[in-house]
């Protein structure tokens, strides 16, 4: 006999969810909120353990027989290696200051997305296995036993954190919950529990130098395709060089800017900017990726992927490295690169050949962010600009977590944007700068199958954009992160339709007055610039 309720009974059921103890690790894998598992071939490429075909919806995740021991030893090793981790696990007093600061909690209403509770998923295991109180008192001391259900819970919830560090901003003890996520993902990788979107990109990057696995001729071909577009829309033929030894500067961008709309328009912007100032630069087809998905896999993978930048800089004999608009590329650079692969003593402290400015902030890593570089050029009046070409845009600025909260870059991009665009409107104060809201899809959560998770996680950001759209007529969301450029357009399509997304250098190049250019009737997207049509 059918147990299904009758239609009228749908109204009588309680819509209040049953109370659930957070200590219960069992999770419902809600469609649209979890990622497909890493392919065996990707794990083999990277030399990571337990490559196999498996499915998170299956009961059996095919973990190695001694998985519990591996996790225990892995945690022990990391507690000894990273004092910060031990402190983060010991000192939390569960004051709850971080609880409501996570975009995933705000958007989904799932309590296990409160940063304090998400970290507690690891902390409870740590207490049980590594503290005296936990060993004796178990659950009474907040300890939990490590079971396969805990692993499944970790897989689910530590892939619902974008390591944006908004929560850590509010923690009175400075606990960096993002680092807890980093460690748990690393532990999960020890037993082969991971997602394809991250592992596939990391494996591609390891094999060919970029996330998509574009081989040198394709990578070069894609950029030449952009050069053709510039010739059509601007009227100037550029000749970027590849793998040229002896260039002054090696330029490295996130590969998303080479092949994905709207990043490609930002890449066109880079090329035009370098031509405009006569920079002696070259592009590597091997270090063809600024992003580093090793950050979401393991410290060792991150180090290996990062090392290619320095290896290429050495091989080509450049003086310093200029980096494009990217988010986590700069997190790796700012927080980890120097101790992983640096200091890069064979390079010179970056000095702008145009303005003579020495970038002391990069004297150890020898790598400068393009926005700092552009702000310096504009400050010294080295760019010929016509900002009125951007008058059809009413812009707002999204502070990408990694470059803003991660490395304190707040003013430079605003200075550049206001210099090239006459219409700029800030989003509400508590949603920008240090307090910026994540796009909802960083750290490898941009896979197609995370579609609902991203819509929930990106909701707070989107609502702030919607606010300035309604109040000021904002129609362009500008940022300096390749993942933002991929994630924000669909987010806007859902929450704030008619707001388009672009990188900063795209708008700089729209405004750049290039030597030998024809009448600029279109922007870099090939779309007519309103108001310029009649000038012909």
């Amino acid at each position: 006999m059918s147990q299904a309720p009758k239609p009228e009974e749908l109204l009588r059921v309680s819509h209040i969810p049953p109370k659930k103890d957070w200590m219960d690790p069992r999770v419902d894998l809600v469609p649209g909120t979890w990622g497909y598992p890493g392919k065996a071939s990707s794990l083999e490429t990277l030399g990571l353990p337990n490559p196999r075909e498996w499915n998170p919806t299956d009961e059996d995740w095919k973990l190695p027989p001694n998985w519990k021991e591996i996790i225990h030893e892995g945690l022990k090793e990391r507690l000894e290696k990273y004092r910060s981790l031990k402190i983060f696990l010991d000192i939390c007093v569960r004051c709850g200051a971080c609880a409501d600061k996570c975009h995933f909690f705000i958007g989904s209403g799932d309590p296990k997305n409160m940063p304090v509770l998400r970290a507690e998923l690891l902390r409870s295991i740590y207490r049980q296995d590594f503290t005296m109180a936990g060993k004796i008192l178990g659950t009474f001391a907040g300890g939990r036993e490590l079971t396969e259900d805990v692993i499944k819970e970790w897989f689910y919830y530590f892939h619902q954190c974008t390591e944006c560090r908004r929560c850590s901003l509010y923690c009175p003890y400075g606990i960096d919950t993002a680092e807890v996520t980093i460690i748990v993902r690393e532990l999960l990788n020890l037993i082969g529990v991971n997602i394809d979107w991250i592992l596939g990109a990391a494996a591609n990057c390891y094999r060919t130098g970029n996330h998509l696995g574009l081989e040198p001729h394709t990578f070069k071909g894609n950029i030449e395709y952009l050069v053709d577009d510039i010739e059509e829309y601007v009227g100037v033929r550029l000749n970027p060089t590849f793998n040229r030894k002896g260039a002054e500067v090696l330029f490295i961008a996130p590969s998303g800017d080479v092949f994905a709309d709207p990043g490609i328009f930002t890449y066109m912007g880079y090329l035009m900017l370098f031509e405009h100032i006569g920079l002696d630069y070259t592009i590597s087809t091997y270090a063809s990726e600024g992003g580093n998905f090793g950050l979401f896999t393991s410290q060792e993978t991150m180090k290996r992927l990062n090392s290619k930048m320095y290896a290429e800089a050495k091989r080509l004999g450049v003086k310093w490295i200029l980096g494009g608009e990217c988010g986590h590329m700069w997190r790796v650079l700012h927080q980890y690169m120097d101790t992983m692969n640096g200091p890069a003593d064979f390079l010179e402290v970056p000095k702008s050949p145009i303005t003579g400015t020495v970038f002391d902030n990069a004297k150890s890593t020898k790598m400068v962010h393009i926005v700092e570089f552009m702000a310096d050029l504009i400050h010294h009046g080295k760019l010929k600009l016509n900002p009125s070409r951007n008058d059809y845009l009413r812009t707002t600025w999204h502070d990408s977590c990694n470059v803003s909260r991660g490395m304190g870059m707040f003013e430079e991009p605003r200075y550049v944007l206001k210099s090239v665009c006459n219409n700029f409107f800030e989003m509400p104060e508590n949603t920008i700068r240090e307090q910026t809201f994540c796009c909802g899809g960083g750290t490898g959560l941009n896979a197609g199958e995370f579609e609902y998770l991203r819509m929930m996680g990106g909701m707070p950001r989107a609502f702030a954009v919607k606010h300035v759209q309604e109040k000021h007529g904002v129609n362009r969301l500008v940022n300096v992160c390749a993942l933002d450029r991929a994630i924000l357009p669909p987010l806007m399509d859902y929450w704030a339709p008619e707001v388009s997304v672009s990188g900063l250098t795209e708008l700089v190049a729209n405004a750049l007055v290039m030597e030998g250019e024809h009448d600029r009737l279109t922007d870099l997207r090939g779309e007519d610039i309103p108001g310029m049509e009649g000038d012909e």
């Binding site: 705000i106 209403g109 994905a260 609902y452």
Partner: protein
């Protein structure tokens, strides 16, 4: 004292909308319901803000009998959120019907004493009609998500296909 259901509801508007909002936010787990009810900053709490504002607007709209075109954007702000939060479709929209039970629980005795059942039925028809509009909005939200997913897939590959001469702007548009 009034003998008009709409006047009665208007007099009790504050209490009814409060109860409606509380009950709606209780469809989330305890800790989240507390946060959604407590935090007043609209940018820190978009869900709580949208629900409390939306329900107050909808209640007002049902009282004065606004048309579908006016009701739709009020529903949109709430339904758009519920459509991505992992609820079953019926669960996503059930909150709109809560108001019927709240009115009967809170004002049932008075309504009966005054013989206003007929008029209550008229108000409840407006609630049912609003639910149907919400169903349209919900369905459109899910369609938008599906369209976004499709176009993301196409955009991801269209550059490569174009370069291989396997697709043109014309075929893409068609």
């Amino acid at each position: 004292m009034t003998n008009d259901i709409f006047e009665l509801l208007k007099e009790n508007r504050g209490m009814l909308v409060d109860r409606w909002t509380t009950l709606t936010l209780q469809t989330y787990p305890n800790e989240s319901a507390r946060f959604y009810s407590k935090e007043k900053d609209q940018f820190h709490n978009p869900v709580g803000h949208a629900m409390s504002k939306g329900l107050a607007e909808i209640f007002e709209a049902m009282l004065v009998g606004r048309d579908i075109q006016q009701i739709r954007p009020m529903l949109d702000s709430m339904v758009r959120i519920r459509a991505v939060q992992g609820f079953a479709p019926s669960n996503s929209l059930a909150f709109l019907l809560f108001i019927k039970k709240i009115i009967r629980d809170e004002l049932g005795a008075e309504i009966q004493a005054k013989g206003l059942e007929q008029q209550l039925a008229a108000f409840e028809e407006r609630v049912d009609g609003t639910l149907l509009v919400a169903f349209d909005v919900y369905s459109q939200c899910r369609q938008t998500l599906s369209d976004i997913k499709n176009s993301e897939f196409i955009n991801r590959h269209v550059q490569l296909l174009k370069r291989a001469n396997m697709v043109s702007e014309e075929t893409r548009l068609s």
